[in-house]
């Protein structure tokens, strides 16, 4: 067996305060984006102004942490200039890499900033050796973030065939409708996750409470779930909605239930497979979440690398619906 490579811990930040928390908790790299459609977490009140990004990159670099900038949406026709401007800005501010999904954005970085690393976003949904090799050959992609639909053994096999680094998700939201290709929110809200950067924007979400203590989640004009008084709740996204369908009695989570990915028990297998980086989802979450989750995984990765039994903090309180799964990493039949 090859010597184990220590995977980088890639941590989310939706605000400068969250970024500082991630750096202080031991992140190897933080990923974050600007306040516009170039970023797939384009939610109101979140993300960084250019000035905040500049200061935050300085803070991260002083702490020995890299900053990866998310330009991970697809520019609609006629709007690609905004993505190019954000690439220019990121290069000027000294970002360590840009995470991109769109080939026009990747080509612009390759031609204009050949030294700026390109990481292929999960939004590009590249999972076959052929697709990944194409991105590496044509755009010089250095790392691919894998879709959350692969088992550990598939990842191990893939790593042997591709000429770039691999990053896998280990914690957070588990909405994995072949990433980058989900248009469910468009039908209901008129906004696109992939082009506007917002799935289920808060302006389209309402929570209604009934006298019996139950709560309904309304997205656009549709009720997508109703939780009983004692039931835990989930995000207001269509993929986590509960629907009536012929195949089942009563409400049914037809796509995915409110649940989060937690791959902490799979870390040794992923490290043995040769994964280069572990990603924690959650740029929309608070700095308390960032602090707790980053600290827990920092400790777990460090103990595994030191040959010790990993200490796995209990993170279930932070999970959606207070439920967790190892998802496809363990088995394709995770539901």
């Amino acid at each position: 067996m090859n010597a184990m490579v220590k995977p980088e811990l890639i941590c989310p930040a939706g605000t400068p305060a969250a970024l500082r928390s991630a750096v202080d908790a031991g992140a190897d790299a933080v990923y974050c984006g600007y306040q516009n459609a170039t970023n797939a977490r384009n939610f109101v009140g979140l993300n960084f102004t250019p000035e905040e990004m500049e200061k935050s990159i300085r803070y991260a670099h002083d702490g020995g942490t890299k900053v990866l900038i998310t330009l991970n949406t697809f520019p609609p026709a006629g709007k690609v200039e905004l993505w190019k401007e954000m690439v220019d800005l990121s290069a000027r501010l000294g970002a360590d890499a840009c995470i991109v999904a769109d080939i026009a954005v990747a080509a612009y970085i390759r031609d204009t900033y050949p030294d700026l690393r390109i990481h292929l976003s999960v939004q590009a949904a590249a999972s076959s050796p052929e697709a990944i090799e194409y991105y590496v050959r044509e755009f010089g992609v250095k790392r691919v973030v894998l879709p959350r639909i692969m088992t550990v053994s598939e990842i191990r096999g893939l790593l042997k065939e591709i000429p770039c680094e691999v990053e896998t998700f280990i914690f957070g939201n588990h909405g994995l409708m072949v990433e980058g290709r989900c248009s469910l929110t468009n039908y209901v809200t008129g906004q696109s996750t992939n082009m506007d950067g917002a799935c289920s924007p808060a302006a389209c979400v309402k929570y209604e409470r009934a006298d019996d203590g139950s709560m309904s989640t309304i997205l656009g004009d549709y009720m997508i779930d109703r939780f009983g008084p004692e039931e835990t709740a989930g995000y207001p996204t269509i993929c986590k909605g509960r629907y009536k369908c012929d195949a089942r009695d009563g409400g049914y989570y037809a796509f995915e239930e409110p649940i989060s990915l937690n791959a902490s028990t799979m870390l040794p297998d992923l490290i043995n497979a040769g994964v280069h980086a572990f990603k924690i989802e959650g740029r929309q979450r608070s700095r308390a979440y960032v602090k707790k989750v980053v600290a827990a995984f920092r400790e777990a990765v460090d103990s595994i690398m030191a040959g010790q039994e990993p200490k796995l903090a209990d993170l279930v309180a932070l999970t959606e619906g207070q439920k967790q799964t190892e998802g496809a990493l363990k088995t394709k039949k995770w539901r």
């Binding site: 409470r209 006298d211 004692e230």
Partner: protein, 177 residues
Amino acid sequence: MTSEPQSSRLGAGPGGFPFAPPLPLFLLNPILKRIVHRIAVQNPDMFDRLGPHRHAYFLIDPVDIPFMLYLRPDPEALDFRAVGRRNPPPHAARISGKFLDLLTLMDTEQDGDALFFSRDLIVTGDTEAVVCLRNALDDVDDPIAESVADMFGPPGRAALNALRRAAENAQKRKGAK
């Protein structure tokens, strides 16, 4: 049919209001006014995250104390006062939860989404306004709870520490259930 939040999880309980302050509201309001002005001076950038929602009124409802808090986070026209429970004034959004949970949110020790998932936090009204307020408060340098405690010197800090311990114990009890 919708109504103002009442939850079996969030009731004041048979013990009434465990965090009932001894002060009448007219004595409390000048203190709240001082607090909000101090926070605004210390964190001028936080209002940017609110966008147009800075003009909105928020009703913050600690379900286990006998009054609610009424906030307009507008730096040009700041307003923060205690209001009675009987006739809540007009508001864009209402945020309800136990006092200690709301305190730990202000102390940046709790994750708002996690409280929402566990149904310990209830949001009604304009969801976008609440998300903006949450993001604005989460991005301040020093946690709001700490800044408020500092305003009252050693007794303020001692009170915050006591409340933190109470919050921690409540958390453990919840975890043990």
